[in-house]
């Protein structure tokens, strides 16, 4: 605990010195009388040097929240002595804000616990240490004050706001496990696929009676099975430009695909490469979101290829949804490499900051168009995602491109 003197103590010392010394110099008792109270005031402040004992406990209601949520933070204060004024200021980390505007000042009576609610507003996603609290205790008359910093007690993960996606990019290939994606294979399922003549071994329940009656021989209904897919969200962490939105989009993709009972994985490709192997369920969701919230962009010039990511993190039959500003050559080379290996890739292009110089801007746009064209020729959907455009419409555009591509590229 750090103690400081009030600004008025030096003033009081000066006034006292001036009054008392000038009184002696000019032999005037009125000057001494004028300076005397200030001398006493200065002394009164200086004799008090011990801070009053204070017990402060910080409680944070939960360790997970969603953007826009109010996080309840509670501070319990008590003291075995009466403290006339205790000021409390919560210092929210960047990305959080005080829900109430002002610091709070309370009087602490002896052995009476004071409970202060200091809610915080989660303004953006991220991982935060909640929350440093500054406590200032003012002694009697406010001449001396003591400052104490309560260290953060809890790490709170704030998830990006719910961005519900109804449209998803459908993968070209599915896995053997059951899921919600209609597979292109023919097997037991719900979605009708085709009719064909009866073969020995076909199940009687698959016989299409109307076609059989019309043609005079047995026909069966073929169906598409509902399968799970493996989706890998590929986050480009080489560029800071649009990274926050990229994480937001990645979270929405993770949520949506896990909701469809897909197996979802994550690869963060940047100065540091990290991954979460595909999986499904609530635990996997937590794993992925925590991984996403902990990502940061670090500057790096190390040349690295997609080979640093283990095959288990990028299964061959998976759909790779890359969220990238398509700026860094290492990411572009990695994505092209994946496509050349036959992995299904779609790119959601997070538009980076546009250069201000007009000539540079034209060249910059031209270069980006070349990159897009390069990927489209490889059969990769590249969809631009500008600020303000919902992810939903971006995915719809990607899906439309892939449907066209299925007909044309194959």
């Amino acid at each position: 605990m750090t103690g400081t003197l009030s600004d008025r103590v030096p003033s009081a010392i000066f006034l006292a010195g001036l009054g008392l010394l000038s009184g002696v110099l000019f032999h005037r008792i009125d000057l001494v009388a004028l300076g005397a109270p200030f001398a006493l005031l200065a002394l009164a402040g200086l004799v008090v040097s011990e801070p009053p004992p204070l017990d402060a406990q910080l409680e944070v209601a939960r360790d997970r929240a969603v953007e826009g949520d109010q996080l309840d933070v509670r501070l319990r204060l008590s003291s075995p002595v009466t403290i006339p004024r205790v000021e409390v200021v919560v210092d929210p980390p960047a990305g959080m804000a005080r829900a109430g505007v002002d610091p709070i000042a309370v009087r602490l009576d002896r052995d009476v616990e004071e409970v202060l609610d200091v809610p915080l507003l989660c303004e953006r996603w991220g991982t935060f240490r909640v929350a440093p609290v500054h406590i200032r205790i003012r002694g009697r008359g406010g001449i001396r004050s003591w400052h104490r910093l309560l260290e953060p007690v809890r790490t709170v993960r704030v998830h990006p706001g719910p961005d519900v996606l109804r449209t998803l990019v459908r993968p070209h290939r599915t896995q053997a496990a059951a899921g919600n994606q209609v597979a292109s294979d023919r097997a037991t399922g719900i979605e009708p696929a085709d009719l064909r003549a009866y073969q020995p071994g076909d199940r009687p329940r698959d016989i299409h009676w109307r076609a059989t009656a019309r043609r005079g021989q047995l026909w069966v209904q073929e169906r598409h099975p509902d399968r799970a897919t493996e989706v890998v969200v590929f986050l480009d962490a080489f560029s800071t430009s649009g990274f926050e939105r990229a994480v937001r989009a990645s979270t929405a993709l993770v949520d949506a695909h896990l909701g469809e009972r897909d197996r979802v994985g994550l690869v963060t490709f940047g100065a540091t490469v990290s991954w979460v192997r595909p999986g499904s369920g609530g635990l996997q969701r937590m794993r992925l979101i925590d991984h996403l919230l902990g990502r940061q962009v670090w500057s790096s010039t190390v040349v690295k290829g997609i080979g640093v990511v283990p095959p288990t993190a990028l299964p061959p039959r998976s759909l790779v949804l890359a969220v990238s500003p398509i700026e860094d050559e290492r990411t572009l080379a990695g994505l092209a490499d994946l496509r050349n290996r036959g992995i299904d890739v779609a790119i959601i292009e997070v538009t980076p900051d546009v250069p201000e110089e007009p000539t540079v801007t034209r060249l910059w746009h031209l270069r980006r168009e070349v990159v897009r064209d390069r990927f489209r020729r490889l059969g990769v959907a590249v969809v631009e995602w500008n600020e303000g455009r919902p992810v939903e419409s971006v995915l719809a555009e990607a899906e439309a491109f892939r449907r066209r591509g299925r007909r044309v590229v194959r």
Binding site: G3, P10, S11, L18, L21, A33, L41, L46, P53, R85
Partner: protein, 177 residues
């Protein structure tokens, strides 16, 4: 504008103005019309110090107001007026400094200001009482003279002690938890 601060600042301004008024009303000489101007300048300096949160300006204004009292009473010593002036200046200084501390808007819970009000009132009254005590000691005579030497020694000791303690400044206490 913080209403809480405004009340204290207005009170400090009021006490400073009354102090100047009492000094001018009871003066027994001094530098004539210049003293009025001096008093006005001191009060204005006090207001500027409060508004700008400059403790130095407030201190200078208090010196100015004390100077108005001293210069206006060079010929006669009026004890009751002097006691009142000391009390008023102590109160004005305390209230003014308090108002400067309240510049940041704070949500005050009930009872927070109770002790501080008691402190200000106590110091205002106590300042007057101390002035009376000092004036009373002036009538005490050792060997047929006022013990100004004794007062000077006490004042010097007080001052040295205060300066030494202030020089220590902010410190970390062992009770850090």
């Amino acid at each position: 504008m913080n209403g809480t601060r405004l009340v204290r600042a207005a009170g400090a301004f009021g006490l400073a103005s009354i102090s100047a008024g009492v000094s001018l009303a009871t003066r027994s000489g001094g530098p004539g019309g210049y003293l009025d101007l001096f008093a006005v300048v001191a009060v204005l300096l006090f207001v500027v110090g409060l508004a700008g949160r400059w403790p130095g300006a407030v201190t200078a204004a208090v010196i100015g107001l004390a100077g108005v009292q001293v210069l206006g009473h060079l010929r006669t010593d009026d004890a009751p007026e002097l006691i009142a002036i000391v009390a008023l200046l102590t109160g004005a200084f305390e209230l003014g400094c308090w108002s400067m501390e309240l510049a940041v808007r704070v949500t005050d819970r009930p009872g927070v200001h109770r002790a501080r009000w008691a402190w200000v009132v106590g110091w205002t009254v106590g300042g007057g009482a101390l002035a009376a005590l000092v004036l009373g000691t002036a009538t005490v005579r050792f060997s047929d003279r006022v013990p100004l030497d004794l007062l000077a020694v006490v004042a010097a000791l007080l001052l040295l002690g205060a300066v030494a303690a202030a020089a220590v400044g902010p410190r970390s206490d062992a009770s850090d938890r």
